[in-house]
Subunit: 178 residues, 2 copies
């Protein structure tokens, strides 16, 4: 699960409580992700039992106690290992979002492996775009003359095309700069 790894990256940069992590998510990986605090608490509990993180309870004045999580050596090793592995995730967005986490985490693992995964996903997306382009040419040879259900279907296909174009443009940028 990439949520585990997203949390690991965030905690590598700065140890913190589940609550803080939830807030940080809104302004970093949150561009691709949203995790509710329940999901984060649950995942943290699992990570603790797998000893990827260690916990220190911190008492506060006038505030509830907080549990500050810190990445363990095993957690760092797990992160580095995951970064080098081929991209996981079933759906298209799952893979893109996992890659985003890996890019964010690149400093904690093998950057070259991340670059390879960027290139691979770029090609996957390009292949998909080619398929969509082919479908468009065959099914909608005159896109400006469409009405009714054909128009609606074409608009959805266009959305697929735009999505692929966007993903490819970004992945090309990453390839160049990473």
């Amino acid at each position: 699960m990439a949520l585990t790894h997203a949390i690991l990256v965030s905690l590598c940069e700065q140890s913190g409580s589940g609550y803080e992590l939830a807030r940080r998510f809104d302004r970093s990986i949150g561009y691709f992700w949203t995790a509710t605090h329940q999901q984060i608490y649950r995942t943290l509990a699992g990570m603790e039992s797998e000893q990827l993180v260690s916990v220190t309870p911190v008492a506060q004045q006038g505030r509830p106690d907080k549990k500050v999580y810190k990445v363990s050596p095993a957690g760092r090793a797990e992160l580095a290992h995951w970064i080098a592995e081929p991209l996981d995730g079933a759906g298209m967005d799952a893979r893109l979002r996992n890659l985003a986490v890996k890019i964010r985490a690149a400093g904690y693992g093998d950057v070259e492996a991340v670059r390879a995964q960027v290139a691979a996903l770029r090609d996957e997306r390009a292949a998909r775009l080619a398929v969509y382009r082919g479908l468009e040419a065959r099914q909608f040879p005159d896109p400006d003359a469409l009405t009714g259900a054909d128009l609606h279907q074409h608009l959805v296909l266009l959305g697929g095309i735009r999505t692929e174009q966007g993903a490819i443009a970004w992945l090309d940028e990453v390839k160049e700069k990473l």
Copy 2:
């Protein structure tokens, strides 16, 4: 759940079996979605018990029997009702994908209501893009001079920006043509 409604649209256009639906998904809503056959079978079973669809077993020569599903009047009513409702879905992609289903389904409900939802989501995405642009300006005033963790963070933010730009471009196109 929008899978129910995606299935309703598909069955409105053409009655068919769960297997056929799974294949059709790969080449229509599939630009935004992937549903495994198990998910489809399970959802169909639920829809049958809610009487949104009716089933006719069809014997075949040399092939296993199939169950052909057909949308009931209640199913059509449910679809029309859902189309007019405000967009549901927690995450950003959930809402975009649900809107794609509604665009595809526009002919079975209130097109004007869909247009309004397109405009609303467009504005939501534009607002998000503005936030990202703001973050970029504040945190990365000189994007070409970045290295290490800053570079990685910026690349992820760029991905968020590209995603929003893509979504906005598509929604503008839909606004214009729908």
